[in-house]
């Protein structure tokens, strides 16, 4: 079960994995995620689905190595099996013919924005995909994304490729250049927040895919609760997509960092285990 068919390190610290999961591949839609457990002692971590092949029963995940769970996941090789994989979870992204849509991906979100850009393009939208990274060597999947975008824009902080500068400037330039009907953002919480704050004055609906801590992923535990327009919502079932202008970012960032101390302890423990 859940055999790893293909594994790549797409850029330093970010990995893509093709996993055999026929039931998930059959059902999944853009914006949904799976819960993964690397081994019997592992955490249950949510990972967005970045691509799938329904006929072959495969799904692709893209993830960044940050804590012990993703580090353990990254150490697995082709042919290895995951202890558990459940999904597809969460409500799918709302896909409709909005007109011109700006899709923004950063970090692992470059991978997970792919099925969203693709679905929006298939729906008949004009899709502008903007990929953001610190430097050119941290960009990936440009070829794939080019095929599903009317325009693919690259943005690097150091200007080694594409536009140079900060994502806020790039978003503003695009919005001022042409009429954008909707913005979709995937990536780290900071990117989601910054992008939402940039579009707010323009009144363009901005949908972000939130990534709080989860356990079961089915609405049972409530750890992923987020405050949306003053109301508590569960990201695992009510989301993960929410209107970025309604998200209480402060609470989200605070709740995401609840276990920083334990994450470090866990990493130290893992390093010891790796040595002995």
């Amino acid at each position: 079960m859940y055999k790893i068919i293909e594994k790549r390190m797409v850029v330093p610290n970010i990995h893509s994995m093709k996993i055999s999961a026929p039931a998930v591949a059959k059902k999944c839609l853009p914006g949904q995620f799976v819960i993964v457990m690397v081994d019997e002692r592992g955490e249950r971590i949510p990972l967005s689905i970045a691509d799938w092949n329904r006929e072959e029963g495969l799904i692709t995940i893209v993830f960044m190595e940050v804590g012990s769970s993703t580090r353990k996941l990254a150490k697995l090789k082709e042919g290895d099996e995951l202890f558990a994989l459940a999904g597809p979870l969460g409500s799918p992204s709302e896909i409709s013919r909005w007109g011109t849509v700006l899709c923004i991906g950063g970090c692992y979100g470059i991978g997970t924005i792919y099925p969203i850009s693709r679905a929006l393009k298939e729906e008949g939208n004009k899709v502008i995909t903007l990929l953001e990274a610190r430097s050119s060597f941290l960009l990936y999947w440009q070829d794939k994304l080019k095929l599903v975008s009317d325009e693919l824009l690259l943005l690097t902080r150091d200007g080694t490729v594409g536009l140079k500068g900060h994502v806020t400037t790039a978003i503003k330039e695009i919005i001022e250049r042409e009429k954008i009907d909707r913005v979709m953002v995937n990536g780290c919480t900071f990117l989601l927040m910054v992008a939402s704050e940039t579009t707010r004055p323009f009144g363009i609906k901005t949908v972000v895919s939130l990534n709080p801590i989860m356990i079961d992923g089915t609405g049972m535990c409530g750890v992923c609760r987020v405050s949306i327009a003053g109301k508590t919502k569960f990201a695992c079932v009510d989301g993960p997509d929410f209107d970025g202008h309604e998200v209480d970012w402060e609470t989200l960032l605070m709740r995401r960092s609840a276990y920083l101390k334990e994450e470090l302890e866990s990493l130290r423990f893992l390093q010891c285990e790796e040595i002995f």
Binding site: A23, V24, K27, M37, R41, G42, E43, R44, S68, S69, K72, F83, A84, L85, A86, G87, P88, L89, I215, D216, T218, G219, M220, C221, G222, V223, R225, S227, T232, V237, T251, M254, R255, A258, Y259, E262, E263, E265, S266, R268, F269, L270
Partner: protein, 496 residues
């Protein structure tokens, strides 16, 4: 009473007329039997057990069990059976224990209960079988039916002599069970014994439902749950984990895959929050999250297991039920210097089992009654540091029959804490109701059923346990499953 229940009761009464039973009964006069004192369940010392997650109760020895069994009068009209949601032939198994036939006693229980080692530990017997016991009515101290049930099933398991009942030839009918908790496991056991092909779909990575994510190890060791699950597998039940019905596939999808009947036992997996200020602060948990981290994910063994659970110094648990007791006793075991229960009514109204309250008190848990949280106050880093509470007084009885708590104006006070657990209840999990067209749902999100058959509004679809009851008990869920199994069997066998 239903026809079939009456038939079962008649059989139980008839069994009491067997010669060996009549003779055994004569051996000790009723008066003498009533004089025997109830054997106290051996348990670990509070100061020792509140440091770890090993089981609190140790179980009766063979001699103790046989002595306790002598207290049972083998009544001609046993009322205890009527108190049992799954109608266990209680007098028969107790008398088998009295004569030392422990294995037979265990088999007798298993005729109607697929999870005896679980029920012997977590059933509220004092409200069910033991409340109906004649000895209880006469002396105020019932026969320890629950402890004896636990003894018989533990004895069988330890002996390694667990026997798989013979399964009738396949009927060719396929049953899909949603959720591997107490309701689903019971239904699966019943249906497989009738010759149907049964598959359980479980959302989590281990089967057991609340028995593995909710009830802590010190009350119900997980190894026992897995052995009972293994027993079902050996009978031929297939269990598919990591499969979320409603997401991975819907009931309609499964119908197309050839399943003929369905049982929804997806539980009360939707935590309720108090809806007070500060509830999203760090350090504030739903009971479901706190217990899942500890039990299912084995957070108490962090960092060997990857899921962390905070080891707080001052812990407050809101609520007065068994779940609240499980949370507060777990907090103590995780190293809390001080752990308390905050409950808005008085001790008398607490829904938790007497045994759980007693154990908690012995372990050093403080109880703050007639008090309700008003808001949670955080520090500059977003962690909870205080609860502001208000004192309550009891007014007129409400719809539940318990006196309604009323806030006392101006009685606010603060308690300093670094962890708060919300154990005020849960509601039915909405996943199946939301994804199954045509399923009739009640106002709390529960699936509506015909209580005589546990049939839902969809043909061939049955439901039971917390998904129809909200938050109830393991044994009521199992009782529902037994009712549903009979009706489902009739439904399947009447299908062309």
């Amino acid at each position: 009473m239903e026809e079939k229940n009456r038939a079962e009761l008649d059989r139980i009464k008839l069994a009491a007329q067997e010669d060996w039973r009549k003779e055994l009964k004569k051996k000790i006069p009723t008066k003498e039997r009533m004089k025997i004192e109830r054997i106290k369940m051996p348990e670990r010392e509070p100061e020792e057990r509140n440091q770890d997650f090993f089981e609190v109760n140790l179980g009766l020895s063979e001699e103790q069990a046989m002595e306790e069994a002598r207290r049972c009068l083998d009544c001609p009209n046993p009322q205890c059976v009527l108190g049992c949601p799954v109608l266990i032939d209680i007098p028969s198994f107790i008398k088998l224990i009295e004569i030392g036939k422990f294995r037979e006693a265990a088999k007798k229980i298993k005729e109607t209960n697929s999870l005896p080692a679980v029920c012997g530990r977590v059933c509220p017997q004092e409200l069910q079988c033991e409340a109906q016991c004649t000895v209880f009515k006469a002396t105020g101290v019932s026969v320890a039916i629950g402890n004896l049930e636990r003894f018989a099933s533990d004895w069988e398991r330890k002996s390694g002599l667990v026997e798989i009942p013979s399964i009738p030839p396949p009927t060719g009918k396929k049953v899909a069970v949603i959720g591997a908790g107490p309701a689903g496991l019971t239904l699966a056991g019943e249906m497989v014994k009738m010759g149907h092909q049964v598959t359980i779909f479980e959302a989590l990575h281990y089967p057991g439902g609340v028995l593995v994510y909710g009830i802590p190890e010190f009350r119900l060791p997980k190894a026992i749950v897995y052995e009972e699950v293994d027993y079902l597998k050996r009978m031929g039940v297939e269990i598919i984990t990591n499969f979320i019905v409603g997401k991975t596939a819907t009931i309609d999808d499964l119908r197309k895959d050839g399943y003929d009947a369905f049982f929804i036992g997806s539980g009360a997996g939707l935590p309720m929050f108090m809806e007070v200020e500060g509830e999203n602060l760090n350090g504030v948990y739903s009971a479901n999250e706190y217990l899942t981290r500890i039990n299912l994910m084995r957070g108490y063994d962090f960092p060997r297991y990857d899921t962390p659970v905070p080891r707080a110094k001052r812990v407050a648990v809101i609520g007065g039920g068994n779940v609240a007791m499980d949370c507060v006793r777990s907090a103590k075991r995780l190293g809390a210097d001080w752990a308390c229960i905050i409950y808005r009514r008085s001790k008398k109204e607490m829904p938790a089992r007497i045994e759980e309250i007693k154990h908690a008190e012995e372990e050093g848990i403080e109880f703050i009654f007639l008090t309700a949280p008003v808001r949670l106050i955080g520090d500059e880093k977003g962690w909870v540091k205080e609860i502001e509470c208000i004192k309550m007084e009891l007014g007129e009885p409400d719809s539940s029959g318990r006196r309604r708590p009323i806030p006392v104006k101006g009685s606010e006070f603060r308690i300093s804490v670094d962890l708060v657990v919300n154990a005020i209840g849960q509601r039915p999990n909405p996943l199946i109701p939301l994804t199954t067209q045509g399923l009739e749902i009640g106002k709390w999100g529960e699936i509506k059923v015909d209580w005589k058959t546990m049939a839902t509004s969809l043909p061939g679809v049955y439901a039971g346990g917390d998904i129809v009851r909200g938050g109830a008990t393991v044994i009521l869920a199992m009782g529902d499953a037994r009712v549903a199994a009979r009706a489902m069997n009739d439904y399947l066998m009447n299908q062309s």
